[in-house]
């Protein structure tokens, strides 16, 4: 096999940032993904777990793609650097903007929270009362977990919903709490 056949297609790597997928199409795909999983699980927790798994697979690939497209030469070797990379570069790659804030949980060594006030993914989804507590942002939690784990910082990410900061808004804020596992506390 020749080397040119092995190389990644050039347009794929050179795709500009503004060449994004149409949001309506994506929302429909996301909705179908959830209803696909919904028919195959027994509980809300299981559904979230499935979404998290799917997100992890996406996250691993996103990390690679971001690296190739943004032409990074440096690897993040500490937890904070990896987190900043996630909330800025990866976030911009996925959603076209930075995450609204990155906070450290008080009194906890290894826990951080990413806050996003306008999460695109679940914009059209209203969770019915019989499924109260389901958070569709579990997919994004999975992506974050996938990115961080693939960067060498194993962690566990959970998605939470918080009431909007402004009472006139009806889009609730999304929180992603990240708990790093002990083995990610290493130095290179």
């Amino acid at each position: 096999m020749s080397t040119t056949a092995m190389a990644l297609p050039v347009p794929f790597l050179q795709a500009r940032r503004n060449q994004s997928a149409h949001f309506s199409v994506f929302a429909l795909l996301f909705a179908e993904t959830i209803s696909y999983f919904q028919n195959r699980v027994d509980s809300i927790a299981e559904l979230e777990e499935r979404l998290l798994d799917l997100g992890q697979q996406i996250g691993r690939r996103v990390l690679e793609l971001v690296w190739l497209r943004e032409k990074f030469t440096r690897r993040e070797i500490d937890v904070l650097g990896a987190l900043r990379f996630t909330t800025t570069t990866v976030w911009r790659f996925l959603f076209g903007k930075f995450a609204d804030s990155l906070e450290r949980v008080k009194d906890k060594e290894n826990e951080y929270i990413i806050v996003d006030n306008t999460m695109l993914f679940a914009r059209f989804i209203s969770v019915p009362t019989e499924l109260e507590g389901l958070n569709c942002n579990a997919l994004i939690a999975g992506i974050v977990q996938g990115v961080l784990t693939a960067s060498g910082f194993p962690c566990r990410v959970d998605a939470h919903q918080a009431p909007p900061a402004d009472a006139s808004e009806y889009v609730s804020r999304s929180l992603f709490s990240i708990r790093f596992l002990p083995e990610s506390n290493h130095t290179f």
Partner: protein, 143 residues
């Protein structure tokens, strides 16, 4: 110039969303269902008897009376959006509202994984955005 009533009727004539606002006589839900399916039948019949075969806007689209104006918007998917308002509300305004309602339906009902197609719409976000859309055209919401 208020809007009295808004219906969304599915392809088989079932009422999947209804809203009634102050100023009109408020019908009980059963009566709304009957009205909706009758309207659906009339629309279908008028489509069948139409002598010209244009895909867009055939059959019953609007109805004018001394005391109210009814506008019906049916996109190609066969779903029907109906609005009843006072006669002062022009046809264009009503059609604009119904088109935006179609947009809301496509976004907040069809892109919601927990909504089953052709079933009554019970989505919180749809309700919120519907009320936002209707706010300039109603006096005081009844329900």
């Amino acid at each position: 110039m208020p809007i009295y009533t808004v219906f969304i009727i599915n392809r088989s004539g079932g009422l999947i969303y209804s809203a009634q606002f102050q100023g009109s006589q408020v019908h009980p839900l059963n009566e709304c269902l009957r009205l909706a399916s009758t309207l659906h039948s009339v629309q279908q019949i008028s489509r069948q008897v139409s002598p010209v075969d244009i895909l867009d806007d055939i059959g019953l689209t609007s109805l004018e009376a001394k005391t109210f104006r009814l506008r019906l918007y049916q996109p190609l998917t066969g779903i029907q959006f109906v609005a009843i308002a006072t006669p002062e509300v022009t046809d264009e305004i009503l059609l604009g509202i119904l088109r935006r309602l179609h947009l809301l339906y496509a976004d907040y009902a069809l892109k919601n994984p927990f909504y089953v197609q052709d079933m009554p719409i019970r989505c919180k976000l749809f309700d919120i955005h519907f009320m936002k859309l209707m706010k300039p055209y109603i006096a005081n919401p009844v329900e």
